[in-house]
Symmetry: D3
Subunit: 309 residues, 6 copies
């Protein structure tokens, strides 16, 4: 993509990082894809505009990672392949559309970097990813466990995706880590089910006041060499950093911890990533979307083929 040294930031169609736009994932090492829904949301909506806003704010990003020396565009063939055409009026049909779209994306080995959309989408994405790679490890960064069984009488929604994934055998439960969980709960022992599945559960309280680099060393060991999916719910961050989200919980992670988590994924066999739950109507300064763009850039910078200078 063009550098801001030569093309003014406000100039140009708002594709992700001003990357080329194409319809097909063929020939790509990785692709940015949008899934613009919020009909799986329980509280504030707006995540349907997450992909558009993240793309708009992504014009701030330069071409190198100044901290890790990653050179993504010299390492990967990458493009913006647009959005899944979702059904705004039927969430279950939307899930089917997502699954089918991702089956095509991952078929040829392209790694999807997803711009959400609410967290419901990780379920059909993981159906497609797991169909390709088998049960995957999961780095799940979130304020919420998203493993409810039924909410408002429904099995599908942004509070249930990973329950469905476990039920369908899409996850290698011993290689799952959930980071940043917190907030009021539906039961007194809120994460019991998760721990019973073998998940590593890292509550936000364990993260306060410290670097997460040691944690990531442990998690890299936990996930080993098998395929790993990274799912980052922007509400993992404290709402001061990411107000533009639907179900904010106080006392969350910091962006520096987010960077430590993602940079700590370097060396893993990442087969897909998503950044979900950015809700532009509540992102009064645009900085939640900008943070999302930064985190997606960092995700791209830890993909297996990346070269560092």
């Amino acid at each position: 993509p063009p550098s801001a040294e030569f093309v003014a930031r406000p100039s140009g169609i708002a594709s992700m990082f001003k990357l080329p736009i194409q319809d097909s994932p063929v020939g790509l090492d990785a692709a940015f894809v949008g899934v613009p829904i919020d009909t799986g949301t329980s509280n504030r909506p707006g995540a349907r505009f997450g992909p558009r806003q993240i793309r708009a704010e992504s014009s701030m990003m330069r071409v190198y990672n100044g901290s890790t020396r990653a050179a993504p565009y010299q390492s990967l063939m990458v493009a913006d392949i647009g959005d899944v055409n979702v059904n705004m009026y039927d969430l279950k049909d939307t899930c089917r559309r997502i699954r089918e779209a991702y089956q095509k994306i991952v078929a040829g080995g392209c790694i999807p970097l997803t711009l959400g959309g609410d967290h419901t989408i990780s379920y059909p994405i993981l159906q497609a990813v797991s169909e390709k790679h088998g049960p995957v490890g999961l780095i799940h960064v979130d304020a919420h466990a998203d493993t409810s069984d039924v909410v408002l009488g429904e099995k599908i929604g942004h509070g249930t995706p990973f329950r469905r994934c476990v039920e369908e055998g899409l996850l290698d439960c011993q290689r799952v880590a959930q980071i940043g969980l917190r907030g009021s709960a539906y039961s007194a022992d809120a994460y019991q089910w998760n721990r019973e599945q073998g998940f590593r559960v890292v509550q936000a309280e364990e993260c306060w006041w410290k670097s997460l680099t040691p944690l990531m060393t442990a998690i890299r060991k936990q996930v080993g060499d098998g395929p790993v999916y990274l799912s980052f719910d922007i509400d993992a961050l404290d709402p001061s950093y990411a107000p533009g989200t639907g179900t904010p919980e106080i006392a969350g992670l910091t962006p520096s911890q987010a960077l430590e988590i993602i940079r700590g994924c370097r060396g893993m066999n990442i087969v897909g990533c998503d950044l979900v739950e950015v809700s532009p109507p509540y992102d009064t300064t645009g900085n939640t979307a900008l943070t999302a763009a930064n985190l997606l850039f960092e995700m791209m910078c830890v993909l297996p083929k990346i070269k560092y200078f």
Copy 2:
């Protein structure tokens, strides 16, 4: 409800107009009901918070209509009966829940004054209302005709409610008026189907620069003495007056025209009213919700039993 002369406006639980809150419509002449959904929306969401925000801003309203001399609280037994418990994840199930809730409300003769919610809700409400009263006349104030057959492959959504109503015989088509229609269209002859049903279609262009009082005289004649439902989509207003809505169209009606329309319904046999599509996340000043509260107050002030001093 308490007058602002005696209870400070910021004080007190935010029920509609600070009216008493009760669960049941029994014994009421009219009731305010919220239907907090936006999963039928095609563009900007947020109408799920419409009822809450309209109630909050309704604390501005005093107890008399200073323009028409209506004295609603000396004329009617009226209360706030809370919200329908909707299913955020399944729009069709939500429609069933609404229909069943309104069957109970209208059963004993209580007139529902609905706080939306997106316009999808008028369909199940009219199912219940028509079941009680037979096919009804309709005053439909909107930027949009809302008579699409299928959108994104779906029959149910905020672009289709009145098509469904016609199909199910809920409307007395010769007694239907649509006011304020405008905007870009899916076909060159955008309102042909509507006119074929016998609807009076009044495009926004016909409303520019003038009072709608003469129009309402004609419409009162058109609807006669039979039951009439009033459905007011806040996007009928120009977006300058009502920015807090999901699918704004420029060059719309003015609040003075809205008052003329509603005040022009005096004398009709109103059996239900709704005010829909208020989306608080886009209502940056709260004034869209405040306008909605005013219009709902005016609707209450033209119900059949109202006395004027």
Copy 3:
């Protein structure tokens, strides 16, 4: 003041119209004064920051009136004399402070052009003005009559100033006009008391769809040659034009009508003007304050000494 042709708009201390700042009104034909209170407000506060925000936005104004050819700075000695030092914690003491400050301002013949502040302030200002000039005529532009007797048990507040003025004989009631009144009311015959005092009451409904130039011709006749005070509550305007105010009422006046009203005061013996109820926290775009700055500019442009080219 400097023209924007020579000094960039964002540049310079934010005095009113970038006029010279001075402590004393001595030698001035007219002076801008701020009265930064909102403790007389019944609903949304914020008017305490009205003077600051109006001054900030006033940097848009140029030095001539392009429509009336008034040349204020070639006609008048005018300056910004800062704000009254109000008591934020005691409204009655604030009124005393305002009255005393204005007694000094009007003593030498300086005409005060006031930046409010909530409407409570017109009462002590009129005490001082009337002490100097005798009972005055009043052009009162507002959504509200502001003639309540008691609100929340109190005699002083933004709903009562003109009742107090009448009681104290500060107004020449036959020379009072109230324009733009509307909204829900505390009694069915909302403006009865006002009409009984001899006020001309022009409800908003009488203003819809038309120019107010004919009205102003009549009012000029009504007020004759005696001293006249102009009190403009920004909520007279429809909230679409002036969202930044505390007690908005829908279906109000337009800015073009506001200009017609103020320009229609040309030829009157204006002895003071105020522009009140601008509440910056609700003025999300700054345009309410900008409108206020425009209206204050127009007020200055109809003062008795103004020359037109």
Copy 4:
């Protein structure tokens, strides 16, 4: 109250945590009460809408404390008893009204959990609480000491409540802790008077970079078994977490520290709590109110009768 598992978050009248609404505190262990004033504020107003906005955002809260395993609704009879009917135009009369209202609330042993309103209110609340319990210990979390003697010539306002409390013997000064104090000052030795009374003064600088759990251990020892009142001014938090407040001071506490402070009160004999100074007009994302709702939930979760699972 209903769980968000069964009732959609946007649905229902906005009482605190969707608790039952009742007029009387009789039979309650604890009650949420609103005191909607901001006329004691020195800078940005808006706290009059604090109670309404906190209630609205409280719909996010679930029924258990997932971190401490507290089960408040299985431990306590608790309800929302509405707001004190304040006098917007006279701060001293408002104080009288608050004191009288709280005398009734505490009479039968109900613990008040107050939604402010500006900090002035803690003075009349403590008059009532101390009348019931004798001089109380105080955990005062704030950016400001709020112990000025006179401001703008006045004894009553949000900068003076605890000075008045000390003068009237309402506090057991050896059992007072003030946490989070900072900012520019009226004198070089800003907290001298406080320390002379025996207060523990913990400036924000002492809190940077660390957990406050050790501090709370010391404070629990300090306050012992006597009655303790917890007064939490939301401006104790850094403005990044709580922008919606009137007198923000940079470099404040974090929400994690706030949780440590409140959770650290477990075991104290809490006789009342307040959360004050939430100003919705400056809370552009609603997250200040949401934070307040969380902190009030945590306060409820450390009341003496609470059971943990």
Copy 5:
């Protein structure tokens, strides 16, 4: 472009109206082009993000004009050809870049529909257009005349473009109409120079309270069959409709008048159009950009080749 009946509005890369994106104007009848600058602005900046925001909001637009029955996509080959790569740090160099870019666009007969950017850009665009077509007629809709000679010592800026155009002979002055002019002025006879050039000057005061359809009949006669350029400064609209702009002036045109003006251009030989001065940071609801998208759609719908059904 895809219809919102089949592709959800939030879905897809934000090109103008979701039109195909291409680099070259070859083969196009018309093309949307962005010129993202605001360095020619005198007051509030932000217009550099105008093109991006207009494209984002343009996703609301459907494929037919429901009012005029124009079918643009069945009439024209049209695409989005991206933005001019401007120099943010040197306005004069930016003008050169714009001129050169437009020389290429108009060379093969493609009609440019420009998304501004501040009004400075009309000058270099008209250099290119006039080089192709000879001196052109001009429909200039604006609050400002934009014919200052020098501002802040500079010849180039958003207050001077049409002065430069006249000096360089780019305009056929007898075929120029300026509509909507108003506001305070740098001299008492603000539009004297313009009238001396032969321009028709229609001040906003002449537009209040009425349809502009008769005016457009006169202007169609004035401009005849020669080439005409349409330059629409969004600040021509009243700030209530278009708050997102840099130099708002009160009492402006309405969107219905804007539609009458543009629809009134039907039959003219339009050779280019621009819509300038949309400033997203001040467009708190997105509706200024949405209005701009509507007006650009209407401009497309009056181009010479358009068919109406």
Copy 6:
């Protein structure tokens, strides 16, 4: 300046800290000066309104530093000397105007405390400062190095000022420290050039999780007794604390670290300070400007002549 104990915060003309306004720096130890430009900005504009907004929010500040016991107004003659009259349309000419204005300010020994404006302004300011004091040490707090050579083909802009300063010998490179640098980069080794000049480069990653007091001890040693200039780009702070800026980068410094840095400059021979890049249109709560006002207050409190009590 008046204390908020005696003059209400909303009251009075918005000069910096309500200090006296004067044209000339003669007789002053230090002066606040505004430089209202943003035409050197690469991304979001708005910094042209930085000085105005910082002054407005500075009304919160009291007269003593409660943390360091500095008494600035008993130590220094200080005033607000207004703004440089910049050329909004030509950045190079603006630089000339700034340089000439600052030559006059520093001539008599007055220390300039600058309210920016984008970071371009530090270049001409340092031309003037260095002309007076010789090459200066520099404490540069920023997310960005601002040492690009050419951006968009231009030498002058907010990404290049310190490159120009080095080229012109204005800096004593061994006494330069850059703190807080981070973000994506134009090359893999982003700060190589800087380190080659002898700068101390402290990346943000080195600052996470800790106090910067030890760093400042080292830097005080590094800069010794020679003249030092302090340039603080508000984007050094994490965007959660300072959203109102043009090129935000995530994971930045905290306000507590900012205070440690500035307070750590006590004892240096400070000859000038600036606080740049505050962009009010993106400062939705005003708290970025408030933070800037606090930091400028702290800068004043470490000037050489300051007395501590």
